[in-house]
């Protein structure tokens, strides 16, 4: 247990009535890794490594499950948000380049799409990629072709700062004025509003519980992780209080790629902490990137040969997008899949 927990306990014991800092179900946290510059942009790869974008240092670090860190790349100027695409490549927004870069597992760099001011990013179930650029929400297909651009400030008065996938199949947005929105058919529907500023990272588990990081800002406010449902209702406003300036949270993966119940919380103070073991209510909702590696090659082939319903509908859409993008899954799409998978040249 860290020194901070001891301080918290001392504070709890010394506090009089009405000033109780209750321990939440996710307390106490434990330090997974620390000494970062600003670990508020984290992605999880297919074998459970954390990829951390170091704001200010220009580095993307890889942290293995034991906490050992290595440099993944330092070739992207001013890297910001990180997310894995459906092929297992890391997408990184760069403010300097006004670009979303794509980094192969070997560190090779290519351009995915031009976006100025990208601050949040997520890969959707069909492999498409959403990028929040404050005044605009960009939507690209898995190959980086633009699908849509929603002028969120001009149309809805929302400055979108971050995007999160949910088991509803929709994505959730956090943004200006401490708000939370669910994007339904391309339209943001507000679930929470007028919250204190600095409600940051959000991660859903597979049961639809949202773990939402809040950095204290107003007097009397406390740093905490709250628990919400899919409608944005509070389930526990102080699910974790043993955090300092929490800004981001992600669920972990096992080495076989399956999601687990480890909830990592990035803190502005430079630490990444984990919620108390076994405290989350379900395993994490898949960070929908990495879908490519989850596709069953035999099922993809057999559907082409007429065996119905072997693939999830979202996978068929994804395969069509990486293939000929003609709104149906066909043998051309299957060829594109085999090439992308390295099965054929």
């Amino acid at each position: 247990m860290r020194a901070r927990v001891a301080v918290l306990a001392a504070t709890f014991l010394a506090a009089g009535p009405g000033t109780v800092l209750a321990q939440g179900p996710g307390d106490p946290t434990t330090v997974f890794a620390d000494g970062f510059d600003n670990p508020c942009r984290i992605a999880v790869d297919s074998v459970g490594n954390l990829l951390v974008s170091e704001l200010g240092l220009g580095e993307i670090l890889k942290i293995d499950p034991s906490g050992t860190r290595t440099l993944f790349t330092d070739q992207i100027p001013d890297p910001r948000w990180v997310a894995f695409d459906a092929f297992g490549w890391l997408l990184v927004t760069s403010h300097t380049n006004a670009m979303v870069h794509r980094v192969s597992p070997q560190g090779d760099l290519t351009e995915f799409a031009a976006v100025d001011g990208g601050v949040g990013m997520v890969t959707d179930q069909d492999g498409s990629v959403w990028v929040a650029a404050v005044d605009t929400l960009w939507h690209f297909d898995a190959m980086g072709r633009q699908l849509d651009a929603i002028a969120t400030v001009d149309t809805y008065g929302i400055a979108v700062r971050a995007i999160y996938p949910a088991p509803t199949g929709n994505i959730y947005l956090t943004g200006s004025a401490g708000g939370l929105w669910e994007l339904v058919d391309g339209v943001p529907e507000q679930l929470q509003g007028d919250l204190p500023y600095r409600w940051w990272g959000l991660a859903f588990d597979a049961a639809g519980n949202g773990y939402w990081a809040h950095e204290a800002y107003d007097e009397g406010d406390i740093d905490r992780m709250a628990l919400i449902d899919l409608d944005g209702n509070w389930l526990n406003e102080e699910w974790i209080t043993d955090v300092v300036d929490p800004c981001r949270c992600v669920f972990g993966r096992n080495t076989d790629g399956s999601m687990n119940s480890d909830l990592y919380i990035g803190q502005i103070d430079g630490a990444i902490v984990k919620a108390a073991g076994g405290s989350t209510l379900a395993v994490g909702w898949p960070i929908v990137g990495l879908r490519f590696s989850e596709i069953d090659e035999a099922a993809a082939a057999d559907e082409i040969m007429g065996v119905p319903d072997l693939l999830p509908a979202s996978t068929r859409v994804f395969l069509d997008v990486i293939g000929n993008n003609d709104d149906s899954y066909d043998v051309g799409d299957f060829r594109a899949y085999l090439i992308a998978a390295g099965v054929v040249n």
Binding site: A298, A301, D302, I304, M305, G306, V307, G323, N324, D326, D330, V331, G332, D333, F334, R335, A336, L338, V343, V344
Partner: protein
Amino acid sequence: MRNTRIPVAIVLCALLSTSVSCGDDDNGSTGPPDPVPGTFALTLGTVHLDDGALVLRLQGADISQVELAAPGLYLRFLEDQTGVTAVFVGDIVSGDLLTFHVPDVSRVDSYSGTILEAADRSNAVRGSLAEYTLTVAP
């Protein structure tokens, strides 16, 4: 058919009461020849120079030992009682695609192939399949 001929032969033999032995299939003078198993090839003809993927149906009974005849292509196939469905991916050109085993090579005309879907090497699906042929031959 063979099951109905045997009793007829026995009856005829009894009625004629000849000295010629009856029921001797080895002399080749009665009944159809025994089926001879063997291998056929399924051959593609295409006018295109950029074929990248094909799905085809090979129709016929008792097909077995399906093997790729075009080195370098990806092949996956599904067998059922009436034939084989196969998908090929790669740089596809005219020539043998598959070989397969049949129980009776004399019945070559009962085997046929049909292209179900094709795509070029940019993954675009062909709008017409009229310029493809598939032939089955020993």
